[in-house]
């Protein structure tokens, strides 16, 4: 009898580990970290886009000074967009993500107006620096789209995990896990770059 009692804690440990493992004790934090990492990617790509803006504005300015309202609009939209950051802890707060998305959407719209200006300035259109910046902007918009898709995929994965049995038990009991928010772009992206056609 006493022998059995001595054995049971030793047995209990692996059994408990297995049982808890089934409750998402490991998989929930892993999925959460993945969401945070993918969000960092999203913000990085938006930052990359913001970093292109001053150069782009200067280049356009050199050819199209009279478009000052468009140029000022881009600079202001950039300042606003870079002032809003969403930390990993804010990912459960839909209003924070909406603010971020709205500010970035305004920058997208302003950039779209800036790029459409080129039609009136043939010299700008064929300027090597402008062409390079334009392709970088287009590439960055692509990366934003991909980063956003990956982030939303990670969120879906996390939300499904914490809502489905048996992980939902661990999610409630140990983590008090709340669903995270997906991130949709508001407004069109600045892909007014002429599409390469043949």
């Amino acid at each position: 009898m006493s022998r059995r009692l001595n054995l049971s804690p030793a047995l209990l440990a692996p059994v408990a580990a297995l049982a808890l493992g089934g409750c998402g004790i490991n998989s929930i934090p892993t999925a959460e970290e993945n969401v945070k990492a993918r969000w960092a990617d999203v913000q990085n790509e938006y930052q990359r886009r913001a970093d292109l803006v001053p150069n782009l504005v200067n280049t356009v300015k050199g050819y199209a000074k009279q478009e000052s309202s468009v140029l000022v609009g881009v600079t202001e939209a950039r300042a606003k967009a870079t002032s809003i950051q969403v930390s990993a802890d804010d990912l459960k707060d839909p209003s924070k993500l909406q603010q971020f998305g709205a500010a970035q959407g305004q920058l997208s719209a302003a950039l779209g107006r800036l790029l459409s200006v080129q039609e009136n300035y043939p010299d700008l259109k064929s300027n090597a620096n402008f062409l390079a910046l334009q392709s970088q902007l287009e590439g960055t918009e692509n990366r934003i789209t991909i980063a956003r898709r990956d982030y939303n995929g990670a969120v879906q994965n996390y939300n499904t995990l914490i809502r489905t049995f048996p992980n939902s038990i661990g999610a409630k009991v140990f983590y008090g896990a709340k669903p995270m928010q997906t991130f949709e772009a508001t407004g069109p992206n600045a892909q007014s770059a002429p599409t390469v056609n043949f």
């Binding site: 062409l131 392709s135 390469v196």
Partner: protein
């Protein structure tokens, strides 16, 4: 009566089997269909003559042997309604072009029916094949030939420019994690 019951049971079994199969392949119905990754050159749209295709494939195999970087070229008969950027990224991921931890794959997608072309570059090679450089290759090497209806010539010229760039690039140092 008992025959009816048995038949009902069989129908129920069949239904259950179908359900199980559906659960086993949840994405099968919604997934995009991509061409199969059989060679470095996959000419689904059938626009490259066999001889040119063989030469191109040899070049790409040689590039992969020397530099370990993978360049794959695909012509598709339809983008299935997707933007070419989106399509190229998804296809590149599905095929797993490039070494996993280096993410050093390059994929050229040509969609002759939609008149679109795209060079998709893995993160590991972005410093070598930057956005402006890829845009330049498309603008200066590929499109002039495409506009003269010389699709194989444009594809080969684009591939040569990419290969030249990869040849002169410094080797990648450490694998990217994740």
């Amino acid at each position: 009566m008992s025959a009816q019951v048995r038949q009902g049971w069989r129908l129920w079994q069949q239904g259950l089997l179908a359900l199980l199969l559906a659960l086993l392949f949840p994405t099968a119905a919604s997934a995009q269909t991509f061409p199969k990754f059989t060679n470095f050159v996959v000419d689904q749209a059938n626009i490259i003559p066999a001889e040119a295709e063989r030469r191109l494939d040899n070049k790409l195999a040689d590039l992969q042997r020397r530099t370990r970087h993978e360049l794959a070229i695909v012509t598709v008969s339809s983008l299935q309604g997707y933007e070419i950027n989106d399509y190229a990224n998804r296809l590149g991921r599905t095929w797993g072009v490039g070494r996993r931890h280096y993410d050093d794959g390059v994929l050229m997608v040509v969609a002759p029916n939609e008149h679109r072309v795209r060079i998709e570059v893995g993160y590991g090679l972005e410093a070598t094949l930057t956005d402006p450089r890829c845009a330049e290759i498309i603008r200066d090497k590929i499109l002039p030939r495409f506009k003269l209806q010389d699709l194989p010539g444009g594809i080969t010229a684009g591939a040569d420019a990419i290969i030249a760039r990869l040849n002169s690039a410094a080797p990648l140092e450490k694998p990217r994690t994740s």
